[in-house]
């Protein structure tokens, strides 16, 4: 299995080169689930590079391994085999606390079901990942304010998620993902729980973020939304069967 000598701490440093560079590199990543003595191969030998600033969509039929791949990319899960390098550092087999630290600093998540904490206000939800970073309160306030303004939800900072529409909740989730200025945004079916109008709005927001330089990796089964990305990867039975780059 490939590995580098770079320490996980290096991940928090900004990219050193000025040109386009590889942000994520997967080499032969497999994921096998063992349930009741039955092996299920969710991913089989995935090779994948994602460059800084890319907007990648991952598509494929239900059960093809999209969400598993995203979980591994987001360090929510570990591969059964293979190598995963993030900003040049091998992260496939990091400890639980190290993975938590990298998730917090390098990855912004946008979930299909928003996953906002109902007991926290909009502001507190967006602030949450920053509190785990030990950031000072004044700095947190500034970061949260900027993120909320960017998604157009600054005026709803004191509301609870239950007081917002689905589209607004997803905007807040995007703000939460953005607030910590992560290296990559991972979006898992971000429009899956939204009507078409709100879905379009969220997709426009992602497009706008990408235009601003954000690296985005999105799982979607909706072909319309997949086209928003400048690269589309198709999975089938846990394998990459198509990788299309749309020329700029």
């Amino acid at each position: 299995m490939a590995s580098t000598q770079t320490s996980p701490e290096q991940l928090t440093r900004p990219p050193s080169s000025s040109g386009v560079q590889t942000l994520i590199k997967l080499d032969g990543v497999t994921k096998v689930f063992l349930t009741d003595e039955v092996e299920t191969h969710a991913l089989s030998g995935i090779h994948l590079d994602i460059r800084t600033g890319e907007y990648v969509s991952i598509a494929g039929p239900s059960g093809c391994g999209k969400s598993t791949l995203l979980s591994i990319l987001g360090l929510l899960d570990t591969p059964s085999d293979g190598s995963y390098s993030l900003k040049g550092t091998e992260v496939a087999n990091l400890s639980f606390p190290e993975r938590a630290r990298i998730r917090n600093r390098e990855i912004g998540f946008i979930f299909q079901s928003f996953n906002l904490i109902g007991d926290l206000t909009v502001f507190e939800n967006v602030e949450l990942p920053l509190t785990y970073r030990g950031m000072a309160a004044s700095e947190r306030k500034q970061f949260v304010g900027e993120a909320l303004e960017r998604v157009g939800m600054g005026h709803r900072a004191k509301h609870l998620p239950s007081q917002l529409s689905g589209g607004q909740q997803q905007r807040v989730a995007v703000a939460r993902a953005l607030a910590g200025k992560p290296a990559i945004l991972l979006a898992d079916e971000p429009t899956g729980n939204l009507d078409s109008r709100n879905g379009e709005a969220v997709m426009d927001l992602l497009k706008e973020l990408h235009a601003g330089g954000a690296t985005i990796c999105m799982v979607t089964h909706d072909a319309r939304f997949a086209q928003h990305a400048d690269r589309t990867i198709h999975l089938f039975d846990g394998r990459v069967v198509e990788d299309n780059r749309i020329a700029a």
């Binding site: 598993t68 899960d77 639980f96 938590a100 917090n104 785990y132 939460r176 910590g180 899956g192």
Partner: protein
């Protein structure tokens, strides 16, 4: 931290049902634990009031090897004098005697509990009067002018807190004594004394072998208890060498004063503490189960937190702060329960508590409640927190992912906790069952008298007024007929020590036997002085010979009655009537032979919890007068309604003699085992509480398990399962949990109840009834607790359940 705390408050406020249940459960557990801790604190931890450097104060005990270490005979006056003179490790040795003091000279004489005390004892104990002075050494001399120290309450109530009382004379036990000072509030040494006079021993009382003193001394600076006891062993050897007839087999021993004070209650109180900690453990287990179930419902929230970068420590901290908050509020509730619990506990104690025993909710109790609440909630919150802090992220975060989490492993943990609860509850139940069986046996114990419809009260004739035994005898000769003449009184008599109250031991030899070489070899019996009519009043059968009569006066040959046990042990196969014995007298005093004229039924004179199979000998009051007697009146109506008439009858004989300890005989019998009733009732209350909490735990776990299996049950029903099949499925699970708990509990109880051995009367620690019925009771209650969730399971709508899937 503040942020976490704020969030914890908000979270609990948003889940009022969970928070209320958890807080109430914790408050119950903490409440009972704190209530009993207040007793442990009072008995074993809190400093004794007003005594300086009390860790060095020791009580001196005297045992005879043959009699056993549990029976402290006390010192005789000569050995006390020897100890004061010869011991180099203990200083200030003094002794006291509890005594009745009658203050008269006003319209109504009043009887108080007092103590005759060695003059320098207050100095040794380090307590100072608030007015006047304490005794001087010369005031111990028999011919010194009488002086008295007043207790604070007496000074307040009888003398209106008049500081001018010092220097005045008051009439005590017929003597004019000068008040020399007033002792501080809360000082009632040795137990509940209201006033003190110097200890003055008469020649008769200072004879060797007259063991009635309880000395207290202070270890000299730098001396350890072991060194003092080594010197006391040497002292015992010296005393035995000098007076083998008295001290052969004597063991003198120093015990820290608190230990001596608390030796009777210490073991049972600690056992009770153990029992309530069991209850608290069960309560905490319920809370842990609640937290686990709640954690499972919050799996998604914590999944999000972890996905966003919260490390495990951070999540655990958040959850522990929530637990600690529950513990804090639970502690406050527990303290409130304890206030009520302590009051309830005190109301169950029928005897006056000694001055040093106060069940206050002081800072130690407060700290205990707080620490118990916080520590146990954090400890029991840790397991759920550790489980929740490591979620399966890709599972809990995905759309439609389980929000109730926990899985099979979580269920196993909850099952294990509830099995533990059932086991703990069974151990408590069996312990309480044994105590209750023991108490019921005591309640039904045959003590040889008919206690119903009998009023008793004590009459004490001050020795100063009634120096001549004949005069004391005349008092009772006049009193008893007056009592008997009260309309409604069918019979009246008096006895030196009532049945079931543990008084009146003496040594004797049979005619023709050589006197014992040492006191410890002597025959001992319960010796009672009675007036004619005593047997009739208590319906004690005369088995052979005759009863004592008024004709058995001082001018006649000495006679006595013995009980059947004495007849069988002293004269097996022989007729005891006409046989003679003599009481063991101090050297130099003439031996007086007493002829046995009758054999009567056996009566228990020991406290029922300290029953020994000793013979009893009765003497007529006119030949063996006693200054302190208990009058007994058999009445036709309610005995308590005769108290005033009896009081007037006594005053008509001597207007300065008050009566005291006015009680029904049935109450006297009950008081002889009140401690067993007290501890038995508390054990039972805690066991019932444990049973209740364990049932709640079972209910919770079964309900949760059924909720988790809704789809499975729905599917089974869709496939044709009947309600009874579902009921049987759920009941099987319940039986598995309860059964495992019962097996563990039975094994645990088998060993744990051994600690109760010394507190049980006529009940084996392996009593088959308790070990059979109580597990069945727990099984029944447990199944009942599972019935509601089981019934709910049978009402699952298969369509709904499958749609949910």
């Amino acid at each position: 931290m503040i942020r976490d705390l704020r969030y914890a408050v908000r979270t609990l406020l948003k889940a009022p049902a969970f928070a209320t249940t958890a807080i109430l459960t914790l408050a119950l557990g903490i409440g009972v634990a704190t209530t009993i801790f207040s007793a442990v604190n009072a008995l074993l931890i809190k400093p004794l009031p007003l005594m300086a450097e009390q860790e060095n104060i020791v009580s001196l005990e005297h045992h005879l090897r043959n009699v056993g270490e549990e029976h402290d005979l006390g010192f005789d006056y000569p050995s006390l004098v020897d100890a004061r003179k010869e011991l180099t490790t203990i200083e200030g040795i003094g002794a006291f005697e509890d005594t009745t003091m009658i203050i008269s000279g006003t319209e109504k004489p009043d009887r108080y509990l007092g103590a005759a005390i060695q003059a320098d004892m207050f100095d040794m104990l380090g307590v100072k009067p608030i007015l006047g002075r304490t005794f001087r050494l010369d005031e111990n001399e028999p011919d010194a002018p009488p002086v008295v120290l007043l207790g604070y309450d007496l000074w307040q109530q009888r003398y209106g807190a008049n500081p001018g009382i010092v220097g005045k004379t008051i009439q005590i036990n017929g003597l004019l004594a000068t008040v020399i000072g007033v002792m501080p509030k809360a000082w009632r040494f040795p137990e509940v004394a209201d006033l003190w006079m110097p200890l003055r021993k008469t020649n008769k009382e200072t004879a060797r072998g007259s063991f009635d003193l309880e000395p207290v001394g202070r270890l000299k600076r730098g001396v350890t208890l072991a060194q003092a006891n080594a010197e006391l062993a040497h002292f015992a050897a010296l005393e035995e060498q000098r007076h083998p007839d008295v001290y052969k087999g004597s063991v003198f021993r120093a015990t820290p004063l608190r230990e001596a004070y608390t030796k009777d209650a210490r073991g049972l109180t600690l056992l009770l503490m153990g029992a309530v900690l069991f209850v608290h453990l069960i309560a905490c287990t319920n809370v842990a189960n609640l937290l686990l179930a709640r954690g499972a419902t919050r799996a998604k929230e914590f999944g999000i937190r972890v996905a966003l970068g919260a490390n495990r420590g951070r999540v655990v901290r958040q959850l522990l702060i929530e637990s600690a908050l529950l513990g804090f509020v639970g502690s406050a509730g527990g303290l409130l329960f304890a206030v009520w619990g302590v009051d309830l506990m005190l109301s169950m104690i029928p005897v006056p508590l000694p001055f040093w025993l106060h069940f206050d909710l002081d800072f130690r109790v407060f700290f205990f409640a707080l620490a118990t609440g916080l520590l146990s909630s954090v400890f029991f919150g840790l397991l759920p927190a550790l489980r929740i802090s490591r979620p399966n992220l890709s599972e809990v975060l995905k759309e439609g992912g389980r929000t109730s989490g926990g899985g099979a492993r979580g269920q196993r943990v909850r099952d294990l906790l509830v099995v533990g609860e059932v086991a703990a509850a069974l151990i408590l139940l069996i312990g309480a069952g044994l105590m209750m069986r023991s108490f019921l046996k005591l309640q039904r114990a045959e003590i040889g008298i008919d206690a119903k419809n009998v009023l008793t009260f004590r009459v004490g004739l001050p020795p100063a007024q009634y120096k001549d035994p004949k005069v004391a005898a005349q008092f009772f000769d006049r009193l008893i007929p007056q009592l008997a003449a009260i309309p409604g009184v069918t019979s009246a008599a008096a006895i030196s020590g009532l049945p079931a109250s543990g008084t009146g031991m003496g040594a004797f030899t049979l005619e023709g036997e050589p006197p014992p070489k040492a006191l410890q070899d002597a025959r001992v019996a319960s010796m009672q002085t009675i007036t004619p009519g005593y047997l009739r009043t208590f319906h004690i059968p005369l088995v052979r010979g005759r009863d004592l009569t008024a004709a058995d006066d001082a001018s006649k040959p000495l006679v006595g009655l013995i009980d059947q046990r004495a007849a069988q042990t002293l004269f097996p196969g022989q007729d005891p009537i006409g046989r003679r014995f003599s009481k063991l007298t101090p050297p130099g005093e003439p031996v007086k032979m007493v002829q046995i004229v009758g054999v009567v039924g056996d009566v228990v004179y020991d406290r029922l919890t300290r029953k020994k199979s000793r013979p009893t000998i009765y003497f007529p009051e006119s030949q063996e007068p006693a200054n302190f007697m208990s009058a007994v009146l058999r009445t036709e109506g309610a005995p308590s309604s005769f108290a005033n008439l009896a009081r007037n009858a006594v005053l008509s004989v001597n207007k300065e003699i008050p009566i005291y300890k006015v009680r029904l005989m049935t109450e006297v019998v009950k008081e002889s085992y009140w401690d067993r009733v007290f501890f038995g009732t508390l054990f039972t209350a805690f066991a019932v509480l444990a049973l209740f909490l364990a049932s709640i735990g079972l209910y919770g776990v079964m309900s949760y398990s059924i909720r988790q299996r809704t789809q499975e049950i729905g599917l089974r029903m869709a496939l044709g399962a009947q309600a009874r099949d579902v009921l049987s499925l759920v009941t099987r699970d319940a039986l598995r949990l309860i059964g495992s708990g019962l097996v563990i509990g039975l094994v645990g109880a088998f060993f744990v109840v051994q600690t109760l051995r010394s507190s049980l009367e006529q009940v084996s620690t392996h009593d088959p009834l308790s070990f059979t019925l109580l597990p069945l009771l727990l099984l029944g209650v447990g199944l009942l607790a599972c019935y509601l969730p089981a019934r709910a399971a049978t009402q699952v709508d298969p369509m709904e359940a499958l749609r949910y899937e």
